[in-house]
């Protein structure tokens, strides 16, 4: 019976598709949180597989900080068009204009934290009762504690010490009015799994992930892309380097790495040999030791 087993990518895929279908069946108005990063791209790809030959039955929700890489926006619009999916944009600029949040100031100012308010407002406005995200447990220590089905109270908050037990693959998405769920179908995937799967399924990605030339500055050991959104000190020197991005967040906080990897195979080789985690150069995680946990409790992704 030896050929009746699945390799790990097939098993992970089967698990994720099962979770995505449970979301569709258990919720009234679920959506996919789409950042344009590789994890949400893989999630969207899996959702498409889960309902084939029907169209993907979820809208894509993009929380737009206004500080995007242009490559991400192009990719987003192309994908939405290709899938025939609905796109919902929650704008951080709108939240600022309405006085819901206040823009950070200073050298390391970013709109990362502000996204939480915009996200929760968007969830309320569109009455979304479940948002799927591409977060993985191997990414970060607070995320290692996440459930597949993660309950959020009426304030959108996560209570990590009082999570529902999650047994076998029996997911409990029951909730009261006003509460919602975050669901993470690729919880068990590692960065390596994601890259291998992208290669195996030949999933198109934004160009940011491949080596390209770019003007950058070096700050706190991280290479940051020069753009109109990055506040710079007078003494910071701009270099033109061959770089790529391992993650794809907001422009001013996502660090690049020097790399010449221009194909998926080369990226996989680089990931396998890497001695740094992929979020190691995300400024948003570096604000404190528990930066992710603190943000997640508030309702962050």
């Amino acid at each position: 019976m030896s050929h009746y087993y699945l390799n790990h990518l097939k098993e992970l895929e089967a698990e994720s598709i099962y979770v995505i279908r449970e979301v569709f069946a258990q919720f009234q108005n679920p959506a996919i949180l789409f950042s344009g990063g590789k994890d949400s791209i893989v999630l969207t790809h899996l959702a498409r597989k889960a309902f084939f030959p029907a169209k993907i039955p979820f809208p894509l929700v993009h929380i737009d900080t206004g500080h995007n890489f242009p490559e991400t926006m192009e990719y987003r619009d192309w994908l939405v068009d290709a899938l025939g999916a609905k796109l919902i944009v929650g704008s951080v600029q709108d939240s600022i204009d309405k006085g819901r949040v206040r823009e950070e100031t200073g050298l390391n100012a970013s709109r990362n934290v502000l996204q939480t308010t915009t996200l929760l407002d968007t969830i309320e406005q569109y009455k979304l009762d479940c948002c799927m995200g591409g977060a993985r447990r191997d990414e970060e220590k607070a995320r290692a504690k996440e459930r597949f089905f993660s309950h959020r109270d009426e304030f959108g908050q996560w209570d990590p010490k009082n999570q529902r037990p999650e047994l076998w693959h029996l997911f409990n998405g029951r909730k009261n009015m006003g509460e919602h769920f975050r669901v993470f179908p690729i919880s068990n995937w590692t960065e390596m799994d994601v890259w291998q799967y992208i290669l195996h399924d030949n999933i198109p990605l934004p160009q940011l992930y491949f080596a390209h030339e770019r003007d950058v500055i070096e700050r706190n050991g991280t290479l940051l892309a020069v753009s109109e959104f990055l506040n710079m000190r007078g003494d910071e020197i701009v270099h033109n380097k061959t770089v790529r991005f391992r993650t794809c967040g907001d422009l001013p906080i996502t660090g690049a790495i020097e790399s010449t990897a221009s194909t998926l195979e080369e990226i996989i080789f680089e990931v396998a040999a890497s001695r740094q985690t992929e979020r190691g150069n995300r400024a948003d995680d570096k604000r404190s030791e528990t930066a992710m946990e603190d943000r997640k409790k508030q309702g962050y992704f």
């Binding site: 019976m1 030896s2 009746y4 087993y5 699945l6 390799n7 790990h8 990518l9 098993e11 895929e13 089967a14 598709i17 099962y18 279908r21 449970e22 569709f24 069946a25 498409r48 889960a50 309902f51 084939f52 030959p53 029907a54 169209k55 447990r137 191997d138 220590k141 607070a142 995320r143 290692a144 504690k145 990590p160 010490k161 999570q163 529902r164 037990p165 999650e166 047994l167 076998w168 693959h169 029996l170 409990n172 029951r174 009261n176 590692t190 390596m192 291998q196 195996h200 195979e265 996989i268 080789f269 396998a272 890497s274 001695r275 740094q276 985690t277 190691g280 030791e289 528990t290 946990e293």
Partner: protein, 421 residues
């Protein structure tokens, strides 16, 4: 790592339970470290935290304790999942706290595991925690158990001490339902027999821990005999290309389904044949657990979520009386006559507690009869009566169709884990 090889790796899920004292965190740290799965920036962060706490050595438990309270108090509260890979396999560790108040986390971690790793301190021998964790592994029908007798360096790498503990464990395990138990003498601190063979224990000629983890046979952990497919949802594209398409989406929970098979649908009892097994990547001739697929039938039958597709001559039990071993997970106690929502496969029904048969004292494994209620962490046998039939197999025959959860109708919390007897 050659990426082609990586594409064809098996996935092994294992669980560990225990407290910081018995060296569990050190062992996990050692596995991650010796398989080169810890990144430099993670190591730097752990070093910084260790220094801040005034600890001389690098505290590897900080790698596994993720929440603020856990790090501050030096305890593990919740299940944490860890990932590592060797060239042969990919591993998911469900790392759970071992104290008695965290049985629900242990049960959660054990529910998806192929294998349980049980740590015994060579100086202390078997403890209540060993019994508890072993009992849960047996109750949750984890097929493989590896008993790591740790801290061998503190007993002079004594073969005699190892043999004594193995004998004690075998005596105790005779009462359990675990068929594959292995023993390894290790020192997690020094790395003996974890990833590298020990030079201090030449008397031991068995495998290292990592060798066992890489090679233990898990392909037969799924049931490939009894065909079970629980419908999650119905796919009807209503598009021009697929105008009449009607597919049943779900995951194969047991057996091997083939195109052309004669099948029966529960609860209706109608029969049909499989027209096609669809996936995004093309049609399959056959499909087996745990694949997620979409099944098309040759007849138009009313089928919806919660229905089950099975083989005509191999049916699960169709019943409203469910006899289970239950772990009570909630602080609100369960009483005779209480009603709950029961979720089994993709089916949701209401259930009432009809009878409390007995409770188990997990430390002595004695049965206590005549109990009136179950409090948090109680384990025992109960009988439920459901409002509509469920389609069950014994848990020991099929974990997917033999497991259920109970949900509180008011709080919506998952309050119990049940294994069908």
């Amino acid at each position: 790592m050659e990426h082609k090889a990586y594409l064809d790796m098996e996935l092994l899920r294992f669980t560990t339970a225990g407290s910081v004292d018995d060296g569990k965190s050190t062992l996990i740290g050692r596995l991650l470290f010796d398989t080169k799965s810890i990144f430099e920036d993670q190591m730097e962060a752990v070093k910084r935290s260790s220094e801040k706490k005034g600890i001389q050595h690098i505290d590897l438990s900080l790698l596994t304790d993720g929440l603020k309270d856990e790090r501050e108090q030096g305890i593990t509260i919740d299940v944490a999942y860890r990932y590592f890979a060797t060239p042969k396999r990919k591993f998911i560790i469900a790392d759970t706290p071992g104290h008695v108040q965290y049985i629900r986390n242990m049960v959660t971690g054990a529910s998806t595991a192929n294998l349980a790793l049980i740590l015994v301190d060579a100086r202390n021998g078997l403890t209540e925690q060993t019994y508890r964790h072993s009992y849960i592994a047996s109750l949750l029908q984890i097929k493989h158990v590896i008993v790591c007798i740790n801290k061998m360096d503190l007993v002079d790498y004594s073969e005699e001490r190892f043999d004594d503990i193995v004998r004690d464990y075998k005596d105790f395990a005779a009462k359990l339902d675990i068929h594959d138990i292995r023993f390894i003498p290790i020192s997690a601190l020094h790395g003996d027999n974890v990833v590298h063979r020990s030079e201090k224990m030449e008397w031991y000629d068995g495998p290292t821990l990592i060798y066992l983890l890489e090679t233990i046979h898990i392909a037969s952990d799924e049931n490939h005999i009894d065909c079970r497919f629980a419908v999650q949802t119905v796919i009807r594209p209503h598009s021009e290309d697929y105008h009449d398409f009607r597919g049943y989406a779900g995951r194969i929970l047991g057996g091997i389904f083939r195109k052309g098979d004669e099948v029966m649908i529960l609860p209706s009892g109608f029969t049909s044949t499989i027209k096609a097994i669809q996936t995004f990547d093309g049609e399959l001739e056959e499909a087996f657990a745990p694949l997620s697929v979409t099944i098309e039938l040759n007849d138009d039958i009313d089928i919806s979520r919660g229905d089950m597709i099975v083989r005509v001559n191999n049916k699960p039990e169709v019943t409203q009386d469910v006899d289970i071993m239950v772990c009570w997970l909630n602080n609100n106690p369960m009483q005779l006559g209480h009603k709950y929502i029961l979720r089994h496969t993709t089916r949701e029904v209401r259930a009432m507690v009809k009878e409390i048969v007995y409770k188990i004292d997990i430390n002595t494994m004695q049965r206590q009869e005549g109990e009136k209620q179950f409090a948090a962490r109680d384990i025992g046998r109960i009988r439920l009566r459901t409002t509509a039939p469920v389609f069950t197999d014994p848990y020991r025959v099929n974990k997917h169709t033999g497991s259920l959860i109970l949900i509180d109708e008011v709080t919506n919390e998952t309050v119990a884990a049940g294994m069908i007897v």
